[in-house]
Structure formats: structure tokens, C-alpha cells
Subunit: 194 residues, 2 copies
DNA sequence: AACGGCATGTAACGTGTTACATGATTTC
DNA sequence: GAAATCATGTAACACGTTACATGCCGTT
């Protein structure tokens, strides 16, 4: 159910096609919310049917056309409502920690691979998030710049501060996961030498 | 797909009924992997059909009966295989950070509620996880004690160390989320006084 | 006999994933 | 003209959630 609000969030900046959104949700937005096109296209149509979006066919080349979606007042209001609701309680489902709890079942070399991949995964995320944070701080992120252009100047500070706050939180999480993986690798070492 | 391995993990200790497992997955196990009974019962039947579990009807009172599931050699092997595989790449889907990125859309008092609930959520988890860690360190967790009884003494150290490692990681994560929520509340304060 | 816990399930729905399928446009 | 990218979808399946439904057991 959050997918639609993630879509609305992006569309508050400017109208986009399903393809544009699908690109975003594989690249930058993907690190907070990821979605494949096969989920995005039907969701957009549903949202248009419900009046949250207004779709229009835009010609594209001589014969081609593409459907562009603009957020409606109703959609903007739905987004605002969602933003004022508390976050739905989320249930823990954590494959990494589930697996970590039973690592004695893995061969030591495989346990090491598992933890190294955990580390690599969050190292990659850390790099992505860090460069996003730099883009925010230097106002070089295209979407953010467009968002500022359409917002009232008195809100600029808040808009930037909350994006920064988000990425700082993600970065802290990634750093913590990397530390945790390192501690696990040390633990494995201690069993090897023992 | 991890649900079945979470079930297998518990069943490596001793045979249990769907009800037993469902209790565990709402209480202790729930903080690493949660599942409702409506998901557990069908999954157990599927796993029995696939030969991972051996089910047997156990009489329960004069007329009642319950189905108890024991892990089979095949099930134990499947669990071992899974434990030696890397963790499937997981995609980011984080409602809290998604919402945080657009907090300028929420009324300040609602933003405060959102962050306070985030803090309360992780504070509750932190308490649960901390008491679980104490149970591990003092060897007072019933499942862990049973697990040690059926394991070779030379593995005891590893078994305990990995459980401790898991909960230490979860605790660190909870503490980080609480800190993050606090920083967000301070940020909101700074906008109020400004 | 009433109650709380034990025990097991179905049905409907929503969400998410993977694979398949097609065709136009732009760039080289 | 080949390749990369733009553009949009369907179908099948897996996973997960919520609500509903039933009935026995042990205790009071």
C-alpha cells in the first residue's frame, strides 16, 4: 500500500510517465522503496481510475505515444493525509538475523561468505546513500532542485533538512550493519584459531 | 520462502504442533520472524507433503487429537543447505524512511507523533531483545537449553555465541533507530523555535 | 455450564516477483 | 541496419494479511 504513496511523493514534483517512474524506482528512489515496472504500470492505472492521478496521452515520435500522469488535487490530498498518519506497525522479518542465529549449521567458510556479502551489500548501499546525501547538501540532486523550485521559499529549509535527515538515518544503519558483519567475522576467526 | 526455514530451525530442537509453533512465532521468534497461524498450518502441511517433515497424530484428551511435526533427515539436510547459501539480496522497502523524507507535508504535531511512535516501537523491541539476550547469557531460555541438550558439547560455545551475536545486532539496530528518532524530534523543535 | 486456552483450518484479498511479450524511437 | 533505450503491458505464481469459522480441553 505504500507504493502508491511513494509514487505520489515523486509526482508532487512534476508529471511523469510510467517509464520515468520505473527508472526512478530502480535507481535513486530504489534505496528507500523499490518496485518493478510490472507493479508500477497497473498501480498507475488503478490510481488514475480512483482519481488520484490524471493521465494524458503524449505523442512521442511520429507514431508512438506515452501516457503521462499528473497528480490531481485529490491525489495531493491523499498524500497529505497519509503523511499525517502514523507509520503502520511493521513486523520483523529479517533473513540476515534469522540466518545469523543458526550460523553453527554453516561451514565456517560459508559463514564467512554470508557475512562478507552482508558487509558488501551494506557497503554498496552506504556508498549510494552517501553520494545521495552529498547531492542533497550541495543541492545538485535534480529531483530535489525541481522540488525546491515549486515550493514556497520558506519551506526550502525544511524540505532539505528532512531529506538530509532521512539519508543520515540510512547511512547510520548501513554503518551499523557493516560493523555487525565485522564483529561476526571476528567471531568466526576466534573459532578458527581456538 | 524463509518461513519454512524458520520453522525447520525451531523443529531441529524437537517435534512440535502447529499450535506450538504458532505461539513461538507470535512470542519469542516473532522478533526475528513473525507469522500468523493461517500461514503456519498450510506451510507445515506443504512441508510434510514434500518430505521435509514427518507428521503424526497425537491423541489429546479423550476425543481430541493434534498433529505433531518432526523434522526428517531430508528436512535437516534442506535446512543445512539453506544455512550454507548466501542470504538472498533483499530490497529496501522502508516506510519509516520513506515518510521521513517528506515530513514537511505533515503538520508539526503529527510529525512529532510519527517520530515518537517510531521511538516507542523500537524501545519496545529493545526491551524484548535485551531480555532475550539476558536469557541467552544466563542460559535460561528454554528453547536454547533444549538445543544445547541435543547438541554435541563441543558446539555449545558456538551455538550460544551466534545467538548472542544475533541479538546484539538487533539491539544495536534498535538503539540506532531510537537515536535517529530523537534527532528527528530535535529537528522538529528547531523549526518550532525558529 | 462457562471460560480461557488449545487446536486447526478456509476464504478472500492484496501485495510482490518473475517471466514472458511486444513494438517504437533514438543513436551509432 | 543494429543496438540501446523508451514504452507498456499480461500471466502465473508466491507470499502475506485479515477475517471468519469450528470445536475440544481443562479449570473453575
Amino acid at each position: 500500500m505504500s507504493l502508491r504513496y511513494a509514487l505520489l511523493a515523486v509526482l508532487t514534483v512534476e508529471p511523469m510517465t510510467g517509464y520515468d517512474l520505473s527508472k526512478l524506482f530502480q535507481q535513486s528512489v530504489a534505496h528507500v522503496w523499490n518496485a518493478p515496472d510490472s507493479q508500477i504500470y497497473p498501480e498507475l492505472r488503478k490510481m488514475e481510475a480512483e482519481g488520484l492521478l490524471e493521465g494524458s496521452d503524449v505523442p512521442w515520435g511520429p507514431r508512438g505515444r506515452k501516457r503521462q500522469y499528473a497528480i490531481s488535487d485529490e491525489g495531493r490530498e491523499a498524500f497529505r493525509l497519509w503523511m499525517n498518519e502514523p507509520i503502520g506497525y511493521f513486523l520483523e522479518r529479517d533473513p540476515a538475523h534469522l540466518k545469523a542465529a543458526y550460523l553453527e549449521w554453516a561451514e565456517p567458510e560459508n559463514a564467512r561468505v554470508i557475512l562478507n556479502e552482508h558487509k558488501a551489500h551494506f557497503t554498496a548501499l552506504l556508498q549510494d546513500w552517501t553520494s545521495r546525501l552529498i547531492e542533497i547538501n550541495t543541492l545538485t540532486n535534480p529531483l530535489l532542485v525541481k522540488r525546491l523550485e515549486i515550493s514556497s521559499p520558506k519551506d526550502h529549509q525544511k524540505v532539505v533538512a528532512f531529506k538530509r535527515y532521512t539519508y543520515e538515518g540510512l547511512i547510520a544503519r548501513a554503518e551499523q550493519e557493516i560493523l555487525w558483519a565485522d564483529r561476526g567475522l571476528e567471531l568466526l576467526d576466534s573459532f578458527e584459531t581456538a
